[in-house]
Amino acid sequence: NAGVTQTPKFRILKIGQSMTLQCTQDMNHNYMYWYRQDPGMGLKLIYYSVGAGITDKGEVPNGYNVSRSTTEDFPLRLELAAPSQTSVYFCASSYDEGRGYTFGSGTRLTVV
């Protein structure tokens, strides 16, 4: 019963490097999300998806890209990493609008 699995848990990037944060869920949820959490700022939505092949921007999408080729996977791509992208990233999924999200354990990313 894995739920939402995020990898890696920690990562240090140099400015200008790229990486992909992986997210997989095994609950057959249609809805998936990427949030970033900065100290004292709560969680802000980066991108979301309502089903395979459908993605849309959230509140803070600049510098990120996503794809949703399957129901299970929702990777987040960082291109040309910048110090402002230093944050904790959470992937989450949901069955429908009325229920809460199931979160992954987060990825702490530092850009130096």
Binding site: Y33, E97, G100
Partner: protein, 117 residues
Amino acid sequence: AQTVTQSQPEMSVQEAETVTLSCTYDTSESDYYLFWYKQPPSRQMILVIRQEAYKQQNATENRFSVNFQKAAKSFSLKISDSQLGDAAMYFCAYRGPYGGSQGNLIFGKGTKLSVKP
């Protein structure tokens, strides 16, 4: 746009006592969902309690209960018989009634709860 406000950045409670965390929100919708999430030092986000706006009865989950005041747009969390394991960041969140962007969770900035032995 909907907003969620948690006016208490930090709170402290004595073990076995009761504490109430405040949350207010702004929306023009009549049907929506409200949540409280707990984030302990492990960083994991854990759903504590959920309230559907069309239900007048306040939700309860063991030692956790809410005071939902729809007209005042207030959604406070009461923790009874506080335990050391309750120490965490608590986030209030709002979710609209529809799919697409309206169905995304909007979070407050959080309240850090400390529990004193």
